[in-house]
Amino acid sequence: MSVEKLIFEKGAPGRRAATMAAMDVPTEPLESMIPAAMLRKEPAPLPEVSEIEVVRHYTHLSQRNFGVDTGFYPLGSCTMKYNPKINEDMAVLPGFARIHPLQPESSVQGAIQLIYELEQYLAEISGMARVTLQPSAGAHGELTGLMLIKAYHQSQGQGHRNIVLIPDNAHGTNPASATLADYKSVEVKTDPGTGGIDVNHLQALLEGNAANIAAIMLTNPNTLGLFDSKVVEIAQLVHEAGGQLYYDGANANAVLGITRPGDMGFDVVHFNLHKTCSTPHGGGGPGSGPIGVKEHLVPFLPGPLPAKGDQGYYWQDPGSQSIGKVRANMGNFGVLVRAYTYIRTYGPDGLLHVAQSAILNANYLKHELASDYTIAYPQTCQHEFVATAERQKEESGVTALDVAKRLLDFGMMAPTIYFPLIVHEALMIEPTETETRETLDYFVSVMKQIAEESRTNPEIVKTAPHTTVVGRLDQALAARKPNLRWHPGQEVTH
């Protein structure tokens, strides 16, 4: 166990790491330029540290962090695949990294071209008419998609439609996005037999609210890792009720080249480029959440949209029906460069093989773990599956949280736990296509060992992790007495 002091507790007055540009212009007194009342009184008390201190401090912090480059990261629904290094190199080329968003179009032809072509690739992959690359992340894409649906309904004289149907196993962002778009979320039950949508329940909801259904938000494969084979029937039912179909693309890694949301009947789809297209998650961002739509929704897309003419590439303003901008500038361009590089690396056959291999890896793990853990839905899964610690909890009180913490001791990240909410003691496992069979086998052997420990020595699991820089932290204290920033005089304790 070890502590790294805060940067604020390091250094000494007068120290600094960065040298500033020269003051090479004639200067004027500050007060002659800015009225005294508008000047800062107290200087910002930023740290005073030398370059070596800054370098060691953040190097130490990086060593206290676990990434895909460190080890296996089977975090369900997060698609923590390997992040190719060439993508990083391309994103920091000065021609991509050092361009201003308001430069004249003639000076950024390569950038607009990349966006133009990436839009076409994503439209083809999803089976959609057009794609906006503006949204910053998946949840931002969800909100944008719902805004498009709302604008469409309003244009059809159907502005009163105020209900979005969301399955009980959906990502939490779905209902939160619906609220932001001023929609009411209504939950659709999962059929416990198939793990798909309970079509009878869906029908009842549609009949009960027919005039008010705005949309349904679906993930397919869903968060149980199961492909809902009734998707065409579901699409038909919702469309007949006047609703639109929204595809949450969090799990799109499983469908690349196999099937397309557009062909399943969806009207709107979002991508998580930081999942499906291998752009790194950066400890929680940046992401990118492009939105693809069918033809009838194109007029409502945020603008501007890339276009190609005789004079080269340019930005085209959307028509008067556009919902407007959803963020400043054109999107997370640096992320788009990485996604573009990724798609060009694989091509059509490669992307299909990505999906197939991700599905194989998940099914392999599911098969190997089935003797020691309950599998929530034992049928063939897609890119992920949900195991549970129910057996362990019953036998010795070891929970999904305990299993997750114990995994950390073996140099692996834990799966997503307690999600989806409809499965007790859920361990949601997504290995991705970029892991070797040996890594998967190692994970299986550790999981088996943890199952064995749960029977013979449950304490070691319940008190895990034992090898990390800190043990389990007091979450309740953090929420009860929030300490969200350092104050002078506050010291870390050992």
Partner: protein, 450 residues
């Protein structure tokens, strides 16, 4: 090229283990009628060297800021990035990690974000800050949503001095969410106090002012604060140029309740405007209403009580509260926050102030030189930080042609967003512009004939 390590032989052995004949058999749950019956129509795969050549070629079609002189700001600023920033920020343990749900193996990212939150508090003077938001525009929207409250309708009063793109985004959300936006025009480049006073009523949920505003002008925040607070409105300040905080009064000093804005220019590449880095700082009383992630300091459970960091107050968030969450934010901009943190640590207390002084002095030098030219005049008399508006003797589009011929990028053509300002250009001068660059700009302007 492929990042799939398992060979066909590996995969066959795995299939045999689970009792399936082929990869195809795994796709049984996907009905035939929705299967794509052809290969995706995408360009064929490229080997790494070929792909590099392709992308280098596309990048080379762009004029970038190391190859041309530019005086563009208008919400996106070019600040020098010390070499240590990318070296540390791009360490792959940071880059390839997910949101720190397992704190025991994520202490590095959690501590860096705790330091980011603290530094945002230090530069704004406010009590608390969140772990980042998508960009300045969406940060402004989140602040307005916080002010309006759940299910609220309400009205927001916003100055036309706020970045036009931010206002466009606010209108998009207002349309979907059902709140109204009242815009107050500017006079002499700043928000006129009388008009603002008339616009604000007891129905006003929030008053939004940018400092310095989009024209670079410095608003009279002390006077605006008393107007905003005469009712129950939340006073929100938007900051797109954080270097100004080295010189100008902090949001805490002028009584703002929330400070939001854009801080990608601190340590992160401009990248055509994204990924960006939105921030939000607030008074303590808004703690449990904040959107997005928050990192808190705590101690280990049980015996030893060593300090550690966790994501906290998560009951505000979508994965717990679902439709009743304070925001739908899940992914934010953590890696950029790490970059900004290292940048601020590198500058430090002294460097942060010097950065502000450099921007201020260089911009004012440029302003004096340009306004001394015949035919060019300052559009406004209000004090400014590092951006200013110049009325040219010709249209800005003519001006831009001259810049292009001179191999440079000028300022921002204001008529794009402000009808009636056909001859007005917004120039930005940061510390990255030298006296030589500025003198070149002045020479180019001098040659433009009315």
């Amino acid at each position: 090229m492929s990042y799939i390590p398992n060979t066909p032989e590996d995969q066959q052995a795995m299939l045999e283990r689970i009792g399936l004949p082929t990869l195809e058999a795994l796709l049984a749950p996907v009905p035939e009628e929705v299967r794509l019956q052809r290969p995706l129509k995408l360009p064929a795969a490229l080997a790494e060297p070929d792909l590099k050549r392709l992308l280098n070629g596309m990048a080379a079609k762009n004029k970038h800021l190391d190859s041309v002189i530019s005086f563009l700001g208008a919400g996106t600023y070019d600040h020098a990035i010390p070499s240590i920033v990318p070296h540390l920020q791009r360490r792959s343990e940071f880059v390839t990690s997910y949101t720190p749900y397992q704190p025991e193996v994520s202490q590095g990212m959690l501590q860096a974000i705790y330091e980011f939150q603290t530094m945002i508090c230090q530069i704004t003077g406010l009590d608390i800050a969140n772990a980042s938001l998508y960009d300045g525009a969406t940060a402004l929207v989140e602040a307005v949503l916080l002010a309006i409250g759940p299910g609220g309708r309400g009205e927001v009063v916003i100055s036309l001095g706020v970045d036009p793109q931010y206002r466009r985004v606010l209108h998009t959300y207002a349309q979907a969410r059902g709140f109204s936006v009242k815009e107050v025009p500017t006079r002499d480049g700043v928000t006129p106090l009388e008009e603002l006073d008339q616009a604000v009523s007891t129905a006003t949920a929030a008053v939004v002012i940018q400092q310095p505003n989009f024209f670079g002008c410095i608003e009279n925040m002390n006077a605006i604060e008393s107007i905003a607070h005469k009712g129950k409105a939340v006073f929100i300040t938007t900051i797109t140029e954080p270097a100004s905080l080295g010189i100008l009064a902090s949001p805490a000093e002028y009584g703002a309740d929330l400070a939001v804005g854009e801080i990608m220019s601190f340590g992160n590449t401009m990248s055509y405007g994204g990924p960006a880095l939105g921030f939000m700082a607030a008074r303590n009383k808004y703690m449990r209403l904040l959107p997005g992630r928050l990192v808190g300091q705590t101690v280990e459970e049980g015996g030893e009580h060593q300090t550690g960091y966790v994501l906290t107050l998560q009951t505000r968030e979508q994965h717990i509260r679902r439709e009743r969450a304070t925001s739908n934010i899940c992914t934010n901009q953590s890696l950029l926050a790490v970059g900004a943190t290292i940048f601020m640590a590198a500058l430090g207390k002294q460097g942060f102030r010097e950065l502000g002084e450099l921007c201020l002095q260089k911009a004012h030098y440029a302003f004096r030189q340009i306004t001394a030219l015949p035919g060019y005049k300052a559009t406004f008399t209000s004090p400014f930080f590092n951006e200013f508006v110049i009325e040219a003797p010709v249209s800005v589009h003519t001006l831009q042609q001259h810049f292009e011929q001179a191999g440079m990028i000028g300022g921002y053509a204001l008529d794009d967003s402000y009808p009636g300002m056909e001859n007005c250009m917004l120039f930005c001068v940061t510390e990255t512009r030298t006296k030589q660059d500025i003198d070149y700009l002045v020479d180019v302007l001098k040659e433009v004939q009315a």
